[in-house]
Amino acid sequence: MYGSAIVGGWALQKGFEAVALDFDSERLQSTMQSRYGSAGVQRLGQWLAMLQAQKDRPLQQQLPTVNTFWNRAVLQSEDSTLWSQPDYWATPLETLGKGAGDCEDYVIGKYFSLQRLGVAVEKLRLIYVRARLGGVGSTQSIAHMVLGYYETPAAEPLVLDSLLDNIMPASQRKDLTPVFSFNAQGVYVAGAQTTSVDRITRWRDLLARMKQEGFLP
């Protein structure tokens, strides 16, 4: 509840400098139909409906709705089984089509959903974290990725995690140890002036595939 209060406070500033994601929904649907059939189309419809419903809603409603939508719509899986690759960044359409994905696919889905709803991309960061499994004192941990919402660059982020529907400030997630983060404005090596996200090969691949599917990022 504490998180919700904070989100409510931040929501006042929502929309500033926001560049919304655009897409051609008909083309998305036809791509989905041809690749993944009616099940995929149904999940896509749900996503579009959610986005439509959350349009112009306050941020404190949008963040949990988006988080919950993706956590419920997608089953936790591994890239090696889904894509036969050790690591694959799937597009939102691919994730919805498969109905399954790994932690990065959740983060990507949430990132573009929030961008669509008008959240400024510089406030969103993709964070590599070490997640401790089990309770306090457990030594078992996994490599994980979450989406962080930073109201200001220096602020404590809200964590949108695929393992939890609940959105909490980072300080309350003792199980997560952040290792590295980046966003669409791109950071690879701090201080490198021309390094944009476009030059991150993985991100560029993702955007290119999205463009083919009907997104206009």
């Binding site: 894509w83 050790p86 996994i142 463009k211």
Partner: protein
């Protein structure tokens, strides 16, 4: 190949080589730089990652995996691999260009990427960096890192394309410049050099001859001045040559003695006149006159004074010609004794007054030979039409001259062009016809001039008159029969004139008691009513008693040309009591065989033949044969020209009469 072309081609080759070299070196340098950068990037990234992974806080495998994933996802690497000291791979992320689903998608944004051939041609070293990571004192693994070089390739490709573009642009600019240079150079050469060189051949005219135009190109200044010098020299030489050619032409075309045009010049002029090149109808007359006694003159005077006399004669004739400037007549000396006057553009009778004036001048300038005789001129005249040939005209003149010389008279022998000419001088003939008919119709236009001649024979002197018809024109000039009768023959009017001559002769005999010779044209005999009208004329009562003094003379040529007519004529005249004579029998020796068939009163021989007889045994035999045959037939032999004493004696022995001086 032109010098300029060679120069430009060599410069172009050099420029192309420089541009290609620059391109190759630039690309090579860029590639080397990129290789170095990639290598250092690999080394730096490997060092940083190894440093992070070696920290005590990061020894947890999950943290290590996260660090490596974050680096791989956020950076541009082909490969990040962590292997245990035993070589077992603990973590690996590899970017494959051929990954399943991403490949098709990735193809599109990579459109601007370097083409495969370029990458294969200029491969970048995939810089691999290896670092060992440690946990405290212990080595726990080997980190391998390969940086993705596709951006470097793309940058290299991009810069190569731009550089090649600049090179091509520079090449095109150079080519354009070369084309402009070529055009400009051609223009300059055309304007400066060609114009100047062409001016060499032209005649210098005031404005142009001054100085060459200022050269637009500094390099051409010495060339232009050399050309100008050459031009001046060439022009000076050309002027010299022309003066020389002119003097040579004068030498070639002039007779050195009289300064009159020579035979070559005359023949050319005649040919030009015959071709109608002057724009006038090719009709005119040519008069030839020969000094028959040039040898004797040269022997008698000094050669120099003979030459001076000839020059003076030429001068006098030229004076006459100048007074008829409109007819453009020209006097020329054909050879030593022969002179010729070309009278183009004088129609018909107009030429005759000029001919007579020339004859008068020449006769007035005669000198006396040592033998006491006047030196002799013989004259021949012919006319020509457009179809005449030079040889035809000259042959007629020679024929005329021969006739004049054999007749022994200083009359002009007019040999009109005959039927063989295709084109006749219609305008001239019309004028002639009008004049001749007018003369026949008028009462007093025609008159008979009688030249009294003394003939000497073994039996003493004999006197006779030789008549010739003369015609007074409307303008008051008097034309001799020799000048208009040939035309009358051509126009078919000879019979009329012959009849008129006979009538006038008969009238003359009324007052004179002397044998009178009247010449009858041969073509008149061929006219069907001529003989009848002649008989009618002669049968007039009033002349009956004088007819025996009348003698009609025919040319011996008639014996072969008109044998029947001549025979009939002779018989008719014998019946009428009129004598018939033959002249120039020596030219027709075949006529000798017919003498016995004709009642003739006399035959005439030329002096040339008679004089030949004194030297040539053959000619002597012929002369004797003629004389004997004639004497046997009762025909008198006469020589119509003065002969030397030796020949005269010979002839007198043969009962021939010779002309007494």
């Amino acid at each position: 190949m032109s010098l300029l072309k060679q120069l430009l081609i060599s410069v172009t080759v050099a420029i192309v080589a420089i541009l290609i070299g620059t391109l190759a070196f630039s690309i090579g340098a860029a590639r080397q730089y990129l290789d170095g950068q990639l290598q250092s990037e690999s080394e730096n990234a490997a060092s940083s990652l190894a440093l992070s992974l070696s920290q005590p806080a990061n020894q947890d495998p999950v943290t290590q995996e996260l660090l490596m994933m974050a680096l791989f996802d956020g950076g541009q690497f082909k490969l990040i691999r962590l292997a245990s000291p035993q070589g077992e791979t603990l973590f690996e992320r590899r970017r494959d260009n051929g990954t399943s689903e991403s490949s098709a998608a990735a193809a599109k944004p990579r459109q601007s990427a370097a083409p495969r051939w370029f990458v294969e041609m200029l491969p970048l070293r995939s810089p691999k960096a290896e670092r060992v990571i440690s946990d405290g004192w212990k080595q726990v693994g080997q980190l391998t890192l390969v940086v993705d070089d596709s951006y470097a390739s793309q940058a290299l490709w991009g810069s190569s394309v731009r550089l090649a573009g600049v090179v091509v642009l520079a090449g095109l600019a150079w080519a354009f410049f070369v084309v402009l240079l070529f055009r400009w150079f051609r223009k300059v050469l055309q304007q400066e050099i060609s114009a100047q060189v062409q001016a060499i051949g032209r005649q210098p005219d005031g404005a142009e001859s001054a100085q060459p135009a200022k050269a637009a190109v500094a390099e051409l200044v010495p060339v232009l001045s050399a050309i100008a010098d050459t031009r001046e020299r060439v022009q000076a030489t050309a002027l010299e040559q022309m003066a020389r050619i002119e003097s040579l032409e004068i030498e070639v075309n002039r007779d050195p003695v009289t300064q009159l045009p020579n035979r070559k010049y005359f023949v050319n002029e005649l040919r030009r006149a015959l071709s109608g090149a002057d724009g006038l109808a090719a009709h005119g007359h040519v008069m030839l006159f020969r000094q028959r006694d040039l040898l004797a003159l040269n022997a008698q005077m000094s050669r120099a004074s003979a030459d001076a006399w000839l020059a003076a004669m030429g001068e006098q004739v030229n004076q006459v010609l100048k007074s008829h400037a409109d007819c453009k007549a020209q006097l020329a000396r054909l050879n030593g004794s022969d002179f010729v006057v070309l009278m183009p553009a004088l129609a018909g009778p107009q030429a005759m007054s000029l001919v007579q004036q020339i004859r008068q001048v020449l006769l007035s300038m005669r000198v006396t030979l040592s033998s006491g005789q006047w030196c002799r001129w013989s004259f021949a005249l012919t006319d020509y039409s457009a179809s005449s040939s030079v040889t035809g005209v000259l042959a007629r003149l020679d024929y005329g001259l021969m006739r004049a010389e054999s007749s022994g008279q200083a009359e002009v022998e007019y040999v009109a062009y005959g039927d063989d000419e295709v084109v006749s001088d219609l305008a001239g003939e019309t004028l002639w016809r009008q004049m001749l008919i007018a003369a026949l119709e008028a009462q007093d236009a025609l008159s008979l001039s009688v030249q009294p001649l003394q003939f000497k024979g073994s039996n003493g002197m004999q006197e006779r008159g030789e008549a010739s018809l003369s015609l007074r024109t409307a303008s008051g000039e008097t034309l001799m029969g020799s000048l208009f009768l040939p035309v009358a023959v051509r126009l078919g009017l000879s019979a009329e004139f012959d009849l008129r001559a006979v009538a006038l002769g008969a009238a003359w005999l009324e007052q004179n008691d002397c044998e009178l010779v009247i010449r009858i044209s041969l073509p008149s005999l061929a006219q069907p009513d001529f003989l009848g009208r002649l008989r009618e004329e002669l049968s007039a009562q009033k002349w009956e008693h004088r007819l025996s003094l009348l003698c009609l003379e025919l040319d011996a040529h008639g014996l072969t040309a008109y044998p029947d007519e001549v025979a009939e004529f002779c018989r008719a005249m014998a019946l009428a009591g009129v004598g018939v004579g033959l002249r120039r029998l020596d030219q027709q020796p075949m006529g000798l065989t017919k003498l016995h068939t004709l009642p003739l009163r006399y035959v005439k021989l030329g002096s040339e033949f008679s004089e030949q007889a004194a030297q040539s045994p053959g000619a002597l035999h012929l002369l004797q044969a003629i004389a004997e045959t004639a004497t046997a037939l009762g025909i008198q032999v006469m020589v119509s020209d003065s002969v030397n004493a030796e020949t005269a004696q010979l002839l007198h022995r043969q009962n021939a009469l010779t002309l007494a001086v």
